[in-house]
Point group: C2
Amino acid sequence: MDGTSLRERKKQRTREALIDAAFELFTTKGFEATTVDEIAEAVEVSSRTFFRYFGSKEDVATSVQLQQFLDVYSALDARPAGEPVVTALRHAVGQVLRAYEEGGDDAFQFACVMRLVQDSPAVMARSLEMCTEQLDEMALRVAGRMGVDPIADPRPKLVAAVASAALQVAVRAWRETEPDEKVSDLADRAFALLEAGINYPPPA
Amino acid sequence: MDGTSLRERKKQRTREALIDAAFELFTTKGFEATTVDEIAEAVEVSSRTFFRYFGSKEDVATSVQLQQFLDVYSALDARPAGEPVVTALRHAVGQVLRAYEEGGDDAFQFACVMRLVQDSPAVMARSLEMCTEQLDEMALRVAGRMGVDPIADPRPKLVAAVASAALQVAVRAWRETEPDEKVSDLADRAFALLEAGINYPPPA
DNA sequence: CGACATCTGTCAGGCACTGACAGATTCGCT
DNA sequence: AGCGAATCTGTCAGTGCCTGACAGATGTCG
């Protein structure tokens, strides 16, 4: 049952092999032009086995995105307790994004997933669905920071949803800008706007 | 080419018949248990014709949601020019939702779509995708209200995305609350929170 | 009425995805 | 090592979504 058993290691290896093969094919042929059979063949398993690891062809991409969410959670937990929630989210997200930008290993895969999400509607749809699935988890952490009940108080869920939306806007702006503006900067600016309030013009 | 030609009227009729039949079957049998063939049979057309009207089975639901977006746009344009954007969105959305709650015709269909979106993942995914498609349009109107460039200034897109997220949170909260709390009230509260700022605790 | 455009049904087919079964692999135990 | 149990995998058959291509029906306009 532990992670060092032969069975578990084999499973992990085929799982990663499937992800690698899938991204290789997605980037060269495109998402919809790639069939599950091709991915499975590249790893020398049956297509039936593919569906035992991933619920759908899109899930290969979203499984990577899920890990990114978990990274944000870790970074969020590491932020000081007194920090306001949006500010904490701003720093946590910026931290994770900068790590992806500089870390050579996952940097390619990260850009790969982002392009995939923006370019193929099916992946986009599944990705958005996964993001909303993660909203409860994120709301839970926000509620913890605020010291309020995550069910009775609507604010944690709102903050989580708004933060997720801001991040999506930043990523999309990143994909659309011609020069290589950094995602981390775009996201940082988006969160900074959230901190200041968005009911323009401010009724001061 | 005008809307009163026989051909156009026939098309409109089959389109509405398909939507009605689809919702009838979705509510009784469930979304995934309903096949496109069944919907087409109920209207006495071929399933091929169904796909000439709707790009996918999910699109039957999202086509209705699209109309709701258009309603919000109309309401938004009717708001006074000086009003801050989030406040204007709050009133526009509230106005549209209250109309759906009281209008007996579309009230049933509205509740129907909302249940559909929350209950079946495929519809949820497609719905979210359509919402992001509408973000540009909404951002355009927000930019007009703010009197800024919708491309150079990132704020309109951010406001649109945040407002959409807030609305989604409200709808989801509505579906989860046992008693019949009104969507319009939940949405109003969510937008009110946005107006006040969400960087809790406020660093006052 | 006739030329034309448009809509529809039928057919064939690809691809995503699933349940069921049998064979192979690994695990836990003696 | 050896044996039964649990788990993983491949094969097969099948359903359902969705699409291109063609031919026939229907509406449109001079």
